[in-house]
């Protein structure tokens, strides 16, 4: 250690201690001025991270009182309506946390609200990644890590939701039991092994507890660590903009700006959750009562992020269950698991599929504006619509009541929308994107509408279009537009079957294309405008729109 000077201040001494034990200066040097681009859409992942931290804090608090056991108890606590009622220790301790531990209800509600917000944040964050193409090379693995985090978040949410052992959570477990039993061949065994015998048994709460407070959070923490490590390795993506290139990253340094903004944002998320938990009741288990396999009220729903699978179970018709040699194939139930696999699986392979279609295996660090990749955006919207239809179907009964409609008609509508919704979403979105691209071309070539009316010498009135400043102009014209690449022969001079298939799909995906404005077009348009300004009748070039 060749420190040339001995520190004298307390801070200096502490810094010296850290430096000589862990080499702190190297870390500060590496991370202290790392650049993070600043944009609201980049804060969605931060919301997820911060709500997760709050989940760990509040969840740890709850473990000090919660008893994950199903032994029988007769309630004798302060909540009068349940006095003398038989319940599990898990439910009894949940009531104790709510009514007897000061601040217990507040923390319990904060834990639940934070879980709901966490799932919102990870979902919207994933949408941002998808619609901007941020998953492209080199970030494909991190995209899959993110998908795993969504699935783990659902797992954490469901296991936690089931712990209080109230009527709603018990019915949720009952549905899981039915879902497991519908799996061919091994379903009954999986159910018996999970519940320690018949449903509900006496083991499920303590087993879910282990999953909820240890295994799932440990996995989430591990995946978050990998997720963030990749952000460091790859550096953050950035939006297209003047001065932004594929080889640089423009933004704020970690110290002090990003750290201050991020830290402040953490406290604001925390404040929001504090406010929600103080004002808005969530999961009032005392109103539902302890789990009893017999009652359930109308309008039952799971937490929002499980809703899409529950909605799926509602809209699938019963005739999809049939028997082959007496063996049941409950496609009306077990395809819910399949739907989840399809959604997550399609998300996972999408980056590779897109690269294969476009033959674009390059690194991308500049994001796409969603309109500039119409087909991708349309596919994303189709998936969102599909999800949203299933999700809304989980509230079909409530909607039917609200709109004074027949419940059956409501479900028929959802059944139709299950197929039609994504198709409509795809077509409409693609057209909107192409339209927006054409609008961008217009603005680039002919300027924006200034609202100033001019009168030409021959009497014609025109609105003066003004050119954008070069920085805004750059954003509208400096992008890559994926194009259809026809089938190409391989090294042996033959076009392979796979290549033919690729070309067929790619043609559908990328045939409709609005080309970005080139330098020549821009110069020509400027020339026309000068001509126009000097009184020529010649109409401005419309700019070529085509393949």
């Amino acid at each position: 250690m060749t420190m040339t000077h001995e520190p004298t201040t307390a801070v200096g001494k502490a810094a010296n201690f850290a430096e000589t034990r862990v080499g702190a200066s190297k870390m500060v040097r590496e991370f202290g001025r790392k650049i993070f681009p600043s944009h609201w859409s980049f804060m969605l992942g931060e919301v997820a991270l911060y709500t997760f931290i709050i989940l760990v804090l509040t969840g740890t608090f709850l473990t000090f009182w919660f008893k994950p056991a199903m032994g029988h108890a007769i309630y004798e606590g302060p909540y009068v309506p349940l006095q003398g009622v038989e319940m599990s220790e898990a439910f009894e301790s949940t009531l104790a946390i709510s009514f007897e531990v000061r601040g217990g209800l507040f923390i319990r509600q904060m834990h639940h609200w934070a879980a709901l917000l966490f799932m919102v944040a990870v979902s919207v964050h994933a949408l941002r990644i998808f619609f901007t193409g941020a998953y492209r090379r080199p970030r494909e693995i991190n995209w899959m890590v993110g998908i795993a985090l969504i699935a783990l978040g659902m797992g954490a949410g469901f296991t936690g939701y089931s712990l209080p052992d109230d009527v709603l959570s018990g019915n949720g477990l009952r549905i899981i039991d039915g879902l497991l039993k519908s799996i061919p061949l091994v379903g009954t065994y999986i159910s018996f092994f999970l519940f320690g015998g018949e449903f509900p048994g006496v083991d499920i709460i303590s087993r879910l507890y282990t999953l909820h407070i240890m295994i799932v959070p440990a996995l989430i923490i591990a995946f978050i660590a990998i997720h963030l490590m990749f952000v460091v390795i790859h550096k953050h993506t950035q939006w297209p903009g003047a001065g932004h290139t594929n080889r640089n990253v423009v933004g704020e340094p970690v110290l002090p700006t990003f750290a201050a903004k991020g830290g402040g944002f953490f406290f604001m998320i925390f404040a929001l959750l504090g406010f929600l938990s103080g004002i808005f009741s969530i999961n009032a288990v005392w109103a539902y009562g302890p789990y009893d396999p017999s009652p359930v009220s109308a309008g039952t729903q799971p937490d929002w992020y499980i809703g899409w699978m529950d909605g799926y179970l509602r809209i699938v018709p019963g005739w999809l269950e049939f028997y082959v040699f007496g063996l049941p194939l409950s496609l009306n139930i077990n395809t819910a698991l399949l739907a989840a696999l399809v959604l997550f699986g399609a998300m996972a392979i999408w980056p590779f599929f897109e690269a294969w279609l476009t033959k674009d295996y390059r690194e991308h660090h500049i994001l796409d504006r969603p309109r500039n990749n119409p087909t991708r955006t349309a596919v994303g919207v189709a998936a969102v619509v599909w999800y949203a239809v299933m999700w809304a179907a989980a509230s079909g009964d409530l909607m039917a009541v609200f709109f004074h409609m027949s419940l059956n008609d409501m479900i028929y509508i959802f059944r139709i929308m299950f197929f039609l919704g994504p198709i409509l979403g795809f077509i409409i979105t693609k057209r909107i994107c192409l339209g927006l691209q054409r609008k961008d071309r217009e603005i680039v070539l002919h300027g924006y509408e200034s609202g100033e009316i001019i009168r030409l010498p021959h009497g014609e009135f025109q609105e003066r279009h003004k050119p954008l400043d070069p920085h805004k102009l750059w954003k509208l014209m400096a992008y890559e537009s994926p194009r259809y690449i026809p089938a190409e022969p391989g090294p042996d001079g033959k076009i392979s079957k796979g290549e033919k298939r690729r070309a067929t799909i790619a043609k559908y995906f990328y045939e409709d294309r609005v080309a970005p404005v080139t330098k020549e077009e821009l110069d020509a348009a400027h020339h026309d405008h000068h001509a126009l300004e000097s009184g020529s009748h010649e109409a401005g070039s419309r700019g070529s729109i085509g393949h």
Partner: protein, 349 residues
């Protein structure tokens, strides 16, 4: 500092896109706090104000903890206390959050900084060294030269996790015939379900069940069984009386009801929710979870929704003392469909 302001290198390194030249970062516009010391002082006071609000919030939280305490054994002030916790904690946390963000936005230099990206793959030298290390490890360990050792090791490692899987065997018993049996059997009396309040069995007389009424029913002595909830999850029954003229009774099941009183499993054949909603006018049973609808007048056949199988009917009769009893167990398994559902007969005693 590894990063530089772009202005120093503008133009030279910015690649062209579609033939257009990147104009470089826009000129940084100073904020009012950058140029006016007075504005800076005002901002400073504003930010300190947020931090002071935070301190007030924190103190408020502590005060509400004691001030809105409930009497022992009650929760009379819970609502007030919880609201106070929400407002005070929001102030305490938002004060810090907003203050720090304002600090960052107004006082910390806001000029954008540029950092260049590096190749993710290592340099050729890195790769060469890595390959060399791996080759050396291969040589020194002899993993390539000693296939016998390598293959036996792979086999050993592949086998080693088997006990770790095996020890999970006792997570649960095998299903056996448990899904084919419930507490119902010949002569077992029908009792009103008291919910989760423990009380004596209340038997049901046939004349109590008037037309249009529905009873939530459990078997007698259920609470004396080893796992009452497990039993209830299979044995819960809904008992209704329908005008016999409205029932389309299957001739084989003619004697399964008593003067229009019929009993059906309450456990949905879809995924097992309790089919708790009875529509008196239409004689439909509706599952609140996924809206499967069963027609009581037609042996609870599915008329809508995701369920496939009808709700199993419990054959009932009246015993010597006038109470409703089961004739036997359900003729088929209750609840969700499972793989082995047709593999054995349900126990007929």
């Amino acid at each position: 500092m590894t990063s530089k302001h772009l202005t120093a290198e503008a133009g030279s390194q910015l690649e062209q896109v579609n033939g257009h030249t990147n104009p470089g970062l826009p000129e940084h516009k100073p904020r009012i706090t950058d140029s006016s010391p007075q504005a800076e002082r005002i901002t400073e006071r504003q930010i300190a104000g947020w931090f002071i609000l935070s301190m007030i919030g924190t103190i408020g939280f502590i005060v509400s903890y004691f001030l809105f305490d409930s009497e022992p054994g009650t929760y009379d002030n819970l609502r007030l206390q919880n609201t106070a916790f929400g407002i005070t904690s929001a102030a305490a946390l938002a004060g810090i959050g907003i203050g720090v963000i304002l600090w960052a936005r107004q006082l910390i230099p806001d000029a954008e900084v540029v950092e260049s990206r590096h190749d993710i793959a290592g340099s050729e030298e890195d790769q060469a060294v890595a390959v060399e290390i791996l080759n050396q490890a291969k040589e020194e360990s002899g993993i390539a030269r000693r296939p016998f050792l390598r293959n036996t090791l792979i086999a050993a490692v592949a086998l080693a996790p088997l006990p770790a899987i095996l020890v999970f065997r006792d997570l649960g018993p095998l299903p056996g015939d448990s899904l084919f049996k419930t507490l119902w059997g010949p002569g077992v009396r029908l009792c009103q379900d008291p919910g989760m309040v423990p009380e004596e069995d209340r038997y049901i007389r046939a004349e109590e069940v008037t037309i249009g009424s529905a009873f939530h029913v459990i078997p007698e002595k259920m609470h004396e069984s080893e796992h009452p909830l497990d039993e209830k999850a299979k044995a819960a029954v809904l008992l209704m009386r329908v005008d016999p003229r409205e029932l389309n009774t299957d001739p084989e099941k003619e004697d399964w009801g008593v003067d229009g009183i019929v009993a059906y499993s309450k456990i949905c054949t879809h995924v097992g929710c309790p089919v708790a909603l009875y529509e008196h006018q239409t004689h439909h049973l509706l599952c609140p979870c996924h809206q499967s609808t069963f027609d009581v007048t037609n042996h609870c056949a599915v008329i809508f929704g995701p369920a496939k199988r009808p709700l199993p009917q419990l054959p009932i009769a009246v015993d010597d003392e006038g109470y409703l009893v089961a004739q036997r167990d359900f003729p088929e398994p209750v609840g969700p469909t499972f793989w082995e559902i047709n593999m054995r007969e349900t126990s007929v005693e």
